[in-house]
Symmetry: C2
Subunit: 198 residues, 2 copies
């Protein structure tokens, strides 16, 4: 009986992956995407550079894998039984994601970088944006099934609405928000979608 | 008769102001706000640093004055006689402003910088955001006067809607837009505001 550890692909130790993940987030916060380096992340994580390259081939792949692993599960929608309840929960989750550290700084920085690098924009969409949207879409599909939204609802516009107002007011403008702001955003989206509330 | 040039405040030559303006925009595009310097702008403009400091006391004041001078007039709203027409024109103007160079790169870069510097965020709001919003608000007030919008319309949310969807789809996501995208954004906003179209 062969009792050796698996050969070929090296076994990736979860503790090292976790240390690298923390280091990537800290470097993104402090230095931004453009100045983040594999060297800097390895040093901060107390790991060798080979530990990074065993996991990801490039800096872009590493950063996006780390961001996706945290950001995508945050889009898992609540099932409250009503469109209003689901939307209110989704908008609140988006607001938390976009406005609290570390993402409140990391995302605007990545957006600025992506305006200079279309392939980075495409990679962000593929690894973070689309998986988040696929998860969140179930909210809207449940509402269509319940008859709360028209069957021909523009799902892409609906999903834009769930993030766009919060991003513009709270991230771009950094403007004050009323205590009932998230409720008002929810009502605005419901009207925009022509929802029939049950 | 005294024929000397005016004394006291120096006369600011428009040609030099124009050269400095071009240099500020070019440096913002190439280097971004953080790495832009008074030295770099002066060199690119072929002017002395004193020419800059006669006009503005700080880098922040200079950059925001240049951006406001171009951005604020772009928000001057069309008066097409209908809310739909006015909104469609405003949304198209916002899309042009946010998605074409130089602002398509400059604005995301400034947003990222402002997340690290609240006083920069406040200065952007005071010099660019609020003057733009004051101009654009006349659209909405005309529609209220015509009975197309409720008298208690949330003007701040309405103004957020005019930029938020375009910014999220076209700048943050850099996602494809349908040929009739701006029409669909206009319809979405009209529904969100509970407009009664005349």
């Amino acid at each position: 009986m062969n009792r050796r550890a698996p050969s070929g692909a090296a076994v990736l130790q979860p503790a090292i992956t976790a240390a690298i993940t923390d280091a990537v987030l800290a470097e993104l916060l402090e230095r931004g995407y453009a100045r983040l380096s594999m060297d800097g992340v390895a040093k901060r994580a107390g790991a060798g550079k080979s530990a990074l390259y065993r996991r990801w081939r490039t800096k872009q792949e590493m950063v996006l894998a780390v961001l996706a692993k945290i950001s995508v599960p945050l889009a898992d929608p609540a099932d409250t039984g009503s469109l209003r309840g689901d939307l209110r929960a989704s908008v609140a989750a988006v607001a938390t994601w976009l406005t609290e550290p570390p993402f409140s700084r990391i995302i605007p920085d990545l957006v600025a970088e992506a305006t200079r690098a279309p392939e980075l924009a495409a990679a962000i969409a593929n690894t973070v944006g689309e998986p988040r949207r696929a998860l969140a879409r179930t909210n809207l599909e449940r509402a269509i099934a319940r008859g709360e939204l028209p069957a021909d609802t523009d799902l892409e516009m609906a999903q834009d609405l769930m993030a766009a107002l919060v991003y513009w007011r709270m991230v771009v403008r950094q403007a004050p928000v009323e205590p009932d702001y998230l409720d008002r955003v929810t009502d605005t989206i419901l009207r925009a979608l022509g929802a029939t509330l049950t």
